[in-house]
């Protein structure tokens, strides 16, 4: 019977699971030795290359690795990979994603669930804050929906907030087209691109927990990537490293909502190091969740106000696309349109609505009730938000 992972893959995967072995040390190890020898070196059975020897001298690394590099570890990794059908690809192998080959810091070992061919499509990274506004979430999923329909793959980190909503939009596009195909029994116009997820923890360690379904769906339709060994916990240091892969996989990086600091800005820095185009969705200056993106626009990033801006950045011709977006919501009366125009931007409380519009409270209640019924505003835990996109 053919083994699930070949010896090289399994050994490399086990090396990844050693303590205190970051992507840098792993790369060094695998640069000077093939996986089997590297394992032997770690176990002290083979003579290390002088660079590797110097590395292993560092603060007792060699001893720590030797203690951990056991047959048990290999078996554990194998069991985990088998259980979650996690595959491994090594730097330099033919199956290794070509877009990572020439990166500044390519991961030496890459774990994946699903089909790596998803990376062959045009790729847009979509990132943003975890505490997004409803408006930001809707816009992210809307963009992802249309990009997927246009054959552009969405790369994102499966974190809470914008990340998750971008992928939800992409999955919705796949699902919708699929059901239409079944209904009409004819293929859809244009080719859809499956989503790509890049996560920080091991592929069998779902984080955040509530995204279990989303992880599974992304792995089933597209591909889920990680450079952490199976079972690795989502420790804080893994996220900036994940962000570097996310940036490296993107041809264009779109920041939907971000504060002036945070993971999204780290990804932006990584993208700028790699000369990758960064686009930002501008927001109201009042909206705290848009401070970062507005800052990016101010620094010269091109703003995104619709899917066309991204397609243009990718150099794609969108003139014949049949995805003209259509707002299904009823048109607003002049009075309501005025209210929406006054309140668009940041989330607002009922208090702010009354003060800013000058409408008496009872009338304000009825206006908001009407706008909510029509889908122009939403209420989350007492905060109202105008939704600009249908």
């Amino acid at each position: 019977m053919q083994k699930f992972l070949n010896e090289d893959h399994l050994t490399a995967a086990s090396l990844t699971a050693l303590p205190k072995i970051g992507p840098k040390r792993l790369s060094t190890l695998l640069k000077y030795h093939d996986p089997q020898t590297a394992w032997a070196v770690v176990q002290g059975r083979a003579k290390p290359h002088e660079v590797v020897a110097a590395l292993m001298q560092e603060s007792g690394l060699g001893a720590m690795w030797r203690a951990n590099a056991t047959r048990d570890l290999q078996e554990q990794i194998l069991a985990r990979c088998k259980k979650a059908s996690i595959h491994v690809v090594l730097y330099g192998e033919s199956g290794y994603p070509s877009c990572l080959k020439n990166d500044l810091a390519p991961p030496a070992v890459l774990f994946y669930q699903g089909d790596l061919s998803a990376l062959n499509a045009r790729r847009v990274g979509m990132i943003g804050t975890r505490s997004a506004t409803a408006s930001g979430r809707y816009f992210a999923s809307h963009l992802a929906f249309e990009l997927t329909q246009n054959g552009v793959c969405i790369v994102s980190g499966l974190a809470r907030g914008i990340d998750a909503w971008a992928h939800r939009g992409a999955l919705r596009a796949l699902e919708k087209t699929h059901s239409e195909e079944v209904k009409k029994s004819k293929p859809a116009f244009g080719k859809l691109a499956p989503p790509v997820g890049v996560v920080a923890s091991g592929l069998d360690y779902v984080y955040p927990k509530e995204h279990g379904d989303l992880w599974r769906q992304v792995a089933q339709t597209g591909v889920l990537l990680s450079e952490s060994s199976p079972g690795a916990a989502p420790e804080a240091f893994r996220f900036p490293l994940r962000n570097r892969i996310l940036a490296a996989l993107s041809e264009v990086l779109v920041v939907v909502e971000s504060r002036d600091k945070g993971g999204s800005m780290i990804t932006v820095d990584e993208a700028q190091k790699r000369d990758i185009t960064v686009l930002a969705v501008p927001g109201s200056p009042r909206n705290i969740a848009s401070v970062g993106t507005n800052l990016l626009v101010q620094q010269g990033c091109l703003p995104v106000v619709g899917v066309d801006d991204i397609l243009v950045a990718l150099g794609l011709d969108n003139r014949r696309a049949n995805t003209a977006s259509f707002d299904p919501r009823p048109r607003l009366s002049e009075q309501d349109a005025h209210l929406v125009a006054v309140m668009v931007g940041a989330p607002f409380s009922l208090d702010e609505f009354v003060i800013r519009t000058g409408v008496p409270l009872l009338e304000a209640a009825i206006s908001l009730g009407r706008l909510e019924a029509l889908g122009w505003v939403v209420n989350n835990s007492g905060w109202w938000e105008v939704i600009e996109f249908g």
Binding site: T129, R130, S131, A132, T133, A134, G136, Y138, S141, H142, F145, R160, R168, G169, R172, P208, K209, E210, E257, N287, I288, A289, S290, P328, A346, P347, S349, L350, D351, E352, V354, I355, L361, L362, E363, A365, I366, L368, G369, A373, G375, V378, N379, N380, S381, G382, W383, E385, G390
Partner: protein, 509 residues
């Protein structure tokens, strides 16, 4: 010789009659108290002895038995001191046994023979209305306010004996002229101090008018406490019945009620979130001390930082909230105390306090954990759940003052009167049958409510609560008949679903 003297002891917020029977007979000189006295009660032997000797009255040199009837109940406190002393004197024939049947005595004795005030004077006197009750000077004003006619007072034990013998006259009149005039409130906080915040202001008005429990949700510095403190000023003065009930509760905890007369305005209680279960619902000692919920009866109970209270304490509030009373049962006794309060609570929306999407730095799990501190059944009992936002700088520095408490209270009083005239209770207490009768919905309002029910944002219980609030909103708006769309919409908007931001929604496209 035998004598029986009437007195009373305190249990919960009520007085219960006690007959102090004294028997002095032949035998070795001695003194025993029977009939379940507690420690303080037993100690009265030494107080009474010293008081008698100080007053120049004799201590019996016979075998004395004091029985506290009914013997089945436990007696607590020093309120029987005077009755025991009088009983001893009657048993020695220094006081005539015949006159005692007209009198009752409630006072503690000092060692010098002076009469000392007790807590719970109001309930004690109210338990003895069929007799002329003698109280200490310190309790006289309060006792007179409770039952004006047959309460007398004396300075010390010697005076009591003189008066009983007819050689002197009781003090019958209250000398302090300010005593009974405490209907106006001291230090009521004015709504005019609240800048901006139209929604919270209206929420207070609705809460006061319809007796709807109110939850204020907002970031630190939004003025939640300030708002809650002002709610009590909007409530109408207490009726005579309510005033007596409230005074009874406060009297049984404090030595003296404020201004020493009946409490005429709604009380405001704001216990700290470290409060124990007993301090909140009552009990504790054999006296069954009333808790904060009873002290807040007919007034406002404000729980700041609701999430910090022990969950067991919060859940203990549920039954009193429904029934308006708290029934405490212990092995020896059970008492019923009033607990008809208006519950106002304040909480932050999430651990970081900001709440607004985008500004909040908490992740969903932390927010979900925070919200789990409030049990669903408790949250459900707040008819009004209002998001309060921090006032903007412009509003804070604005010279324009808000509407004053007096103006708002006028509208509240009118709405309350209307509700009582229409259905005999506050709007929050309307039954489901009454709702259809007194709060019919307009066509559009019914449609709106149906939509809320269909998309699952309103539960069956919430449905009736929203309709009650809408009734109050309409009353305040001067629409006494049909509940309109705008009233219903406001009622719905003042019922914030704290967890709604955590739920994922279906994509629309």
């Amino acid at each position: 010789m035998f004598a029986s003297v009437r007195s009373a002891t305190l249990l919960g917020v009520r007085g219960s009659r006690v007959d102090v029977e004294v028997h002095a007979g032949i035998g070795l000189p001695g003194f025993t108290v029977v009939g379940q006295p507690d420690e303080v009660c037993r100690e009265s032997r030494d107080r009474v002895r010293a008081a008698l000797l100080s007053a120049g009255l004799p201590w019996p040199t016979r075998r004395v038995t004091v029985n506290l009837a009914p013997t089945g109940d436990r007696k607590s406190g020093a309120c029987l001191d005077l009755a025991i002393a009088i009983g001893l004197l009657a048993a020695q024939e220094i006081v005539s046994v015949d006159v005692l049947s007209e009198f009752a005595f409630v006072a503690e004795l000092g060692l010098d023979g002076s009469l000392r005030p007790l807590r719970g004077a109001t309930p004690l006197v109210l338990a003895l209305t069929d007799r002329t009750t003698i109280v200490a000077p310190g309790n006289f004003v309060e006792a007179r306010a409770a039952t004006p006619s047959n309460v007398f007072c004396a300075q010390n034990l010697f005076d009591v004996v003189e008066c009983l013998a007819g050689r002197a006259d009781w003090q019958r009149e209250v000398r302090d002229a300010t005593a009974n005039s405490n209907t106006e409130r001291a230090g009521v906080l004015d709504m005019a101090d609240v800048q901006g915040q139209p929604v919270a202001r209206r929420a207070l008005e609705i809460a006061a008018a319809g007796a709807h429990h109110l939850l204020l949700v907002g970031p630190p510095g939004a003025g939640k406490t300030m708002l809650a403190e002002r709610l009590v000023g909007l409530l109408p003065p207490l009726t005579d019945q309510e005033a007596i009930a409230t005074t009874m509760v406060h009297s049984s905890v404090h030595l003296e009620s404020p201004n020493a007369g009946l409490i005429r305005h709604a009380p405001y209680r704001a216990p700290h979130h470290s409060s124990s279960m007993v301090s909140m619902v009552g009990g504790g000692t054999a006296l069954m001390r009333p808790g904060e919920i009873s002290l807040a009866s007919n007034g406002v109970l404000f729980l700041d930082e609701l999430g910090e209270f022990a969950p067991s304490v919060l859940d203990a509030l549920r039954q009193p909230l429904e029934q308006g009373i708290v029934r405490l049962a212990r092995a020896r006794t059970s008492v019923v105390m009033p607990a008809k309060f208006l519950l106002v609570a304040a909480t932050n929306p999430c651990p970081c306090g900001e709440g607004s999407p985008g500004a909040c730095t908490c992740d969903d799990a932390a927010r979900a954990r925070y919200l789990r501190r409030f049990s669903g059944p408790l949250l459900d009992r707040f008819d009004l759940r209002v998001a309060v936002s921090r006032p903007k700088t412009d509003e804070l520095v604005s010279p324009q003052r808000g509407e004053s408490t007096a103006d708002v209270a006028e509208r509240v009083a009118a709405a309350r009167e209307l509700a009582h005239f229409r259905s005999g209770c506050a709007n929050s207490a309307l039954s489901r049958e009454q709702l259809d009768l007194v709060a019919p919905l307009s066509r559009s309002a019914e449609k709106r409510l149906r939509r809320e029910l269909e998309n699952g944002r309103l539960t069956g219980r919430g449905y009736h609560r929203v309709r009650r609030v809408a009734r109050t909103v309409a009353d305040l708006d001067g629409a006494p008949d049909v509940v309109n769309d705008e009233h219903l919409n406001l009622a719905l908007m003042m019922r914030v679903d704290l967890a709604s931001g955590l739920r994922a929604r279906e994509l629309q496209f």
